[in-house]
Symmetry: D2
């Protein structure tokens, strides 16, 4: 089958590679000509402009956008202007699901299908396949099946849960109308934040298991550590992450990656501890709040990222100012 | 090798079965004679009393306790009274790590080794092997190696993280002095609570993705749902859990189990939603607090369980009482 | 000065009463004729329809809406259709600040001012005065000063913080352009949720200070309470709330109300513990999330309300289902 | 009445001053002779050593300790060695309530009473009086009544909640047996942390209300701010804090202090944002966890302090390491 890909960053380029490997034809475009040239060298058909890109696609066209969320809608509308009834625009990026809902409503009168595909797998997707969460009308999604099947992991080592009759066990699933793919992917990422923070907090507690080896200040403002004899452990964090990978209840792919990172450098000196967030965690929380669903774990994980980037600074200053005001407490240097 | 097992509940009995299958000799005791008889029928050597149990063990003895945390120390001391220098007591239950530290200090003058083994794997351990986190002095732990290796998964499908040189990749790890095994297991369970809650919250948000299909009360006290058009999705929760198992960043063993549970009954009608906690989550939080490590995700997960059992009831009544006092707001029925 | 009031519920009616008492003229309207009649009996000028209401107001009109958020915009637009350049619409309800921003943008071409007034004080405002947070253009707000001054507490027992030069110390403040009043009120309520939950959690902990008096189950799944001798206190909650009111760091008006509620009935038997939320807490959280500000306390307080209404039920069932799947754990009845 | 005071720091010295002013006789001791001399100049009777101190007290002695938690028990035992049956030791510091329970158990055979007094009021207590939460046996506490009444605010502006028949409305309360005073004070501080964080988070959100005025990066990893037109407010934080002091639901003494701090310097440039915690918040959380009471707000407030001191650093590095491992994401500089 033929697919057009717009946006050849880390994700887009690898998806093209996986499709080519599976025997599909890919027409590709990026604002950076070198990105296009690289993939042409690997078997893709390149285009220097969006009109040229559209011209090289057979109708009904299938155009996959793998772009930053901030520009996806603009490019989608620019493309749609030159597309025809029956064509399909696929948004595979980290877009807000509402943008997909809105885009579908806007392009529906023109007969252009909008399919949104939430895509998980990161830099490993090229090799492992991508987990795909798909929204859109049934026919449009059905038509893309060969592409979706090739991008997904297919039959992998994880097997199928008994009772599964759809494509989910091959790693792709039609979740509902346009927007539902990104909605499911959004929540996926919200969960991802929670899982990551759970491991991170736990391992940070293990790291502190030797707190009793060092005396702690005991002044008027700080309580001493009771019973330091219970905090005398120097835990090999990489070893623990590794042992948990085998037979424990908390084994997971994120733990595999964590074990690898800690084995590489137990001090993680290459990282400063400013954790980015890309939008989905925020949107997940907004959905929770608007629908009245408690999400204390997912929100705590998101806020930890905000705090890691010092967005809590003024709040902290306020608390110190209050402490000074009622108790004359100075901050410790 | 020979091992004595005291406590033949779900966990203890299966561990004996796994050891017998691996060719080890097991002497077993339980307050329930039927539990003993069952395992004798499968090849274990039974004992009707603790003295008889100790008498059937070769010295230096290796005695594994798989008992409720509440009685472990009592039974351990009762046994130790009749044990000899060089013998080893192993606590494999969900005990507080401090109890192991204290027990080791108490039994050290008698020359009795105390080894604590945090054990993860649940009812699946018989088949998958148990992830073992071990604390104790080096010699005592070394002597138990054949037993530990047999209980652990060994070479499983998860492979070894490059650079691993210890036994962690076979699923068991000597973590440090007595207490460290349970400490690591405690944190393991703390993380487990966080992971479980992350999935549960996320899937609960997916379940609410159709909130816009139903009108919401719009009275003086409740804000209406803005933009209900964005909450029109009826998500197949079992399908989503399944697709996430394949290639996504959040694939894990807990997700495998979740997919199975949702496939079996998407409404989970067999469960009432009163979630137990067994102590480790609480102890993890205490360790975090005492060592000054932030654990907002792990604590949120623990408190969600407390709330699921209605322990927040009086706090909620207080908030309603305040609302009534300042705003005349009545609770909705 | 003259003011028209639309919406004579708990808040609107009391505001009219306070204005009449201060010598202002009030024209009033409500869908419920009895509400109008009641206030006419207290000195207001009544109107049976919106056109009649508008007709009784001198131009430039000042029309205050005190309506449920869900219908405010609709009524505002209906009124604006019949209003003139220079007239002012004031939204004093619990509306979303974005609605005020949008309304101002929509009515600006017609020359109709939109002023939004966040109003705090609840049922006590009639007597204590209302704390007013005001958004709108300077002239429109300035023109309303006599009304705002009369609704606000004025010189109350709280004094003015040294350095205060504006009207804030009399309990009303022009916060910025239209929308800023409701924005500030929104955050006020977000904080309110946090304060209420802080007291509620703390007092719930005091209530549990006698946990050691009763034996706790000690089975395989539940850890016993260590050191029950430290939980032998039967705390008089009403007395504690009272003593904190006098000289403690946590004295507050909410604490005054809490002490009153507990003195009235320490068991709070009139309340079921289903705590409503009215929108502002949700919107506060959305603002935090969108601007990247950590708000773990405010979100925890909001989610506690959601959970009090059992919106966590499916998440809890999922956690129980996972526990059953990996450990064979049944829920306790 | 006569009282001996050991520990003349910020709190102890001011309590002596308040007692002298009320006509009581104070014998004082501190390791720092200058502290003793200062109070002697204000009317106290000084002592250069603990034996001299005890010798100057009439029996039955009343000895108040106002010391860092870390040394209170040691000094208490040193004093008790030289005290007589019927004497009373009072711990008014920020001690762990369990220390008081233990001390009482230890000194009970000697006939020495142990009374614990949780004391709130900070540097303002000299002028406003201290809120006192008292534990101990009835007779011992009753004997101290003149001292307690003088330290407490007495009849202050807050009035008495109708129905109050004990001393709580004068700002002191006998809460139960030894330990209960510190227990109640511990929870008081736990609540205090929650209140402070609620204000701090809310005001931090207000500070970000102008987020839409500045363009935000919109790269592949960061979602743009939707609808920046809704974040165009430059809020006068000091003004808002002031207006909330008058008639709003969230007025409180902490808000009074906050308004003062923001009026003094809206940027709080004198503070770095490293917020200390003194033990009670931790102990409150431990009590919540051990008794199964959900405390998401209080824990979030405590963890925010831990994070303000960068104790979350390793956890954050781990999350960045995971992001790099699965997505090739580099931290932003």
């Amino acid at each position: 089958m033929q697919l057009g890909m717009v946006g050849l960053g880390r994700m887009g380029a690898n998806m093209v590679r996986r499709l080519i490997k599976a025997g599909h034809q890919c027409v590709v475009y990026d604002v950076n000509p070198q990105s296009v040239a690289d993939l042409v060298a690997e078997g893709a058909i390149g285009a220097a402009t969006l009109p040229e890109f559209l011209g090289k696609l057979d109708t009904p066209r299938a155009v996959w956008l793998m772009l930053p969320a901030a520009i996806t809608t603009r490019i989608a509308l620019e493309l749609a202007d030159q597309m025809q009834p029956g064509d399909t625009l696929i948004d595979g990026g980290n877009s807000y699901y509402r943008d997909a809902v809105d885009l579908a409503a806007q392009l529906s009168p023109k007969g252009i299908n909008v399919v949104d595909v939430g895509t998980s797998g990161g830099v490993w997707g090229l090799q492992r396949g991508y987990s795909l969460m798909i929204g859109g009308n049934k026919d449009a999604v059905q038509r893309l099946d060969p592409i979706l099947a090739a991008l997904a992991p297919g039959q992998d080592g994880s097997g199928a849960t008994p009772g599964t009759t759809d494509t989910a066990s091959q790693g792709y699933l039609h979740c509902g109308p346009t927007g539902s793919g990104h909605f499911v992917k959004m929540v996926h990422n919200g969960i991802e934040y929670g899982l990551m923070a759970a491991y991170a907090e736990g391992i940070n507690i293990l790291k502190a298991a030797n707190a009793g080896e060092h005396a702690r200040d005991a002044d008027a403002e700080t309580a001493p550590l009771h019973d330091p004899q219970y905090y005398q452990f120097d835990i090999d964090l990489a070893g623990v992450a590794e042992v948990w990978r085998h037979g424990s209840v908390i084994s997971s792919w994120l733990l595999d990656l964590t074990a690898g990172a800690l084995r590489g450098d137990p001090t993680l000196a290459n990282f400063g501890g400013k954790v980015s967030d890309s939008g989905e965690g925020r949107w997940t929380l907004r959905a929770a709040v608007e629908t009245g669903v408690p999400a204390p774990v997912l929100s705590s994980a998101l806020f930890a990222r905000f705090s890691s980037r010092d967005n809590d600074e003024f709040a902290n200053k306020l608390m110190s100012a209050m402490r000074f005001a009622f108790g004359g407490h100075h901050e410790k240097s």
